[in-house]
């Protein structure tokens, strides 16, 4: 609709105010309907789960949504979950941040230097192929059963994902654009700031988004293997005491973590890559 409008026609006429507000109202209604449609499969699944539990499958195997909700309430009301939350939250944040920082720096350095890339790429490639989960026991030995080992495991999983994306991103920068900027008078620092970093930004964002679930996997596997505190330990204990409601409660909390992280990453992405989301449209009517 907006595409066909002339570019100067951004501001609406006063006489159009009435129809505009009505149009806006219907836009809200459409949005609400969209959300409702989105919720339908989720609600259907929950209802089916509730119904099937105890009818099709024994409750001891799958629990049921109301029991999980009940369990979640108890956990938060009694404060039992907070130490676990706090530990896992810290591990996730540190592991993620360290992994992303390392991946960006490493990927950028190798992406910029052909010589370094030639030397180090086979090594990175080989380590990339190692299933990082298999390192968990080793990391426990190296970094202890505290947070260190989980942070290490999460950050190494995050690192490779971000590393490869940033490396590819920097490599894909158009050579002509770089030459052009040099002729315009850029030094290396300016070239990094004005060309390579913004050009690599979409790849960095992609790597960061992909890395979110991987950081969770790293931390939880680490906690499963050996730990004194954390959601992974909580889930592990719940499952070994035949408490499926506890397991699902733990999973729901993890889901919350991932959702929040995804939301934050989405916000950051829209901020950094504003120029991308605007492509192809005429006027900017946000």
């Amino acid at each position: 609709m907006t595409e066909s409008k002339p570019i100067s026609d951004i501001a609406y006429d006063a006489s159009e105010g009435d129809t505009t507000s009505r149009r806006r109202l219907s836009a809200y209604a459409a949005k609400a309907l969209q959300w409702l449609l989105k919720l339908v499969p989720g609600i259907a699944l929950l209802v089916f789960w509730q119904w099937a539990s105890g009818r099709l499958i024994k409750e001891i195997y799958v629990s049921k949504p109301t029991a999980v909700a009940q369990r979640l309430y108890e956990l938060f009301a009694s404060g039992e979950i907070y130490p676990h939350l706090w530990t896992t939250g810290q591990e996730l944040v540190f592991g993620y941040v360290i992994g992303v920082a390392g991946g960006v720096i490493g990927g950028y350095t190798l992406g910029r230097s052909l010589r370094l890339a030639r030397i180090f790429e086979p090594y990175v490639m080989a380590f990339y192929g190692v299933p990082k989960i298999a390192l968990a026991p080793l990391f426990i030995i190296w970094f202890g059963i505290g947070m260190g080992s989980k942070i290490a495991l999460a950050s190494i999983m995050v690192f490779f994902l971000v590393f490869y994306n940033v490396f590819a991103g920097v490599r894909s920068v158009d050579r002509e654009l770089v030459n052009l900027t040099l002729v315009m008078g850029a030094n290396q620092r300016q070239l990094t700031y004005h060309v390579f970093l913004p050009a690599a930004a979409p790849f960095v964002m992609l790597g960061m988004r992909l890395a979110i679930p991987y950081s969770v996997i790293g931390v939880i596997v680490g906690e499963f293997t050996s730990s004194a505190q954390g959601l992974g330990l909580f889930i592990h204990e719940a499952s070994s005491t035949y408490d499926p409601a506890g397991v699902f409660a733990g999973i729901v909390i993890l889901l919350g973590f991932v959702t929040i992280a995804n939301f934050l990453a989405g916000r950051l992405e829209r901020q950094l890559l504003r120029w991308r989301s605007l492509s192809g449209t005429g006027p900017i009517d946000i």
């Binding site: 030459n179 040099l182 315009m184 008078g185 030094n187 913004p198 930004a201 605007l278 192809g280």
Partner: protein
């Protein structure tokens, strides 16, 4: 005249051929000069190394033999005194039009006040007022090209190198752009080296047309075009003497097309 800005001296260039031990000779003994305020068009068949010459003038590529001299000084590193307008507009997609045009000034450490004024002037001179805050993806191909030219004009380079700048535009847009480029270059007294494979474009815009042969490229002719300015870019045949000038270039060029196997 003596006011020599750019000189190509016996330029030879070899490129390694994929899968062969011998190199491909692309350019062979190219000699020509560009005087101040002149518009020189370089024309030749595809793959003859026209663009390579521009890259040498910008210091992005060192010739295998010979040298490029810019005001007597041999070009041996990136030449920041030239401006480069590539075939694709190559605006930075993450910068708005104004930020794109501002970049060369920013890189050169021009003060903020002066930057703002010169950016406004440059954008105005290519007729893009009102689009300062648009991103390149929101501009048409012709507008992007104008932005690219503004980004070059803004820092007043000693020479402007243009590599088939209008090749990717549709016919109508190209005529308008040719006309505007003529006006801009006349007003600014700019020195321009313009690579193209379009004879009409070369004859319409240039003071001298340099004709290159097929690979290995030699210089076939350096033909002065003495048509009065401003020239009519919309109806080339209306320019008095256009036919004769076109003929002079075509006579040199036709042999390269008749025998052409490589395109």
């Amino acid at each position: 005249m003596g006011d020599r800005v750019l000189a190509f001296e016996a330029i030879g260039q070899d490129f390694p051929a994929p899968g062969q031990r011998t190199n491909i000779r692309v350019l062979d003994g190219i000699n020509f000069e560009v005087d101040r305020g002149k518009f020189v068009a370089v024309i030749g068949p595809s793959g003859c190394g026209k663009s390579t010459l521009l890259q040498m003038a910008a210091g992005l590529l060192m010739p295998t033999r010979g040298a490029v001299r810019h005001r007597g000084r041999k070009v041996s590193t990136i030449n920041t005194e030239v401006g480069f307008v590539p075939q694709q507009a190559q605006l930075f997609p993450w910068k708005t039009l104004a930020e794109n045009v501002e970049l060369p000034l920013l890189l050169r450490g021009v003060a903020a006040d002066e930057r703002r004024e010169r950016v406004a002037n440059a954008i105005g001179s290519v007729g893009l007022e009102g689009f300062e805050q648009h991103f390149p993806s929101q501009l048409s191909g012709g507008m992007q090209k104008r932005g690219s030219i503004a980004r070059t004009l803004v820092y007043r380079p000693d020479i402007i190198l243009m590599d088939e700048p209008f090749g990717a535009l549709d016919a109508q847009t190209r005529m308008v752009m040719q006309s505007d480029l003529q006006t801009l270059s006349m007003e600014a007294g700019a020195t321009i080296v313009f690579v193209t494979h379009d004879i009409t474009e070369a004859v319409l815009l240039a003071d001298h047309v340099v004709v290159l042969s097929q690979r290995p490229s030699r210089l076939l002719a350096n033909i002065p075009i003495d048509l009065p300015r401003p020239r009519n870019t919309f109806e080339p045949f209306r320019n008095l003497g256009f036919e004769a000038a076109y003929d002079a270039v075509w006579t040199e060029f036709r042999s390269q097309i008749d025998t052409g196997h490589v395109h």
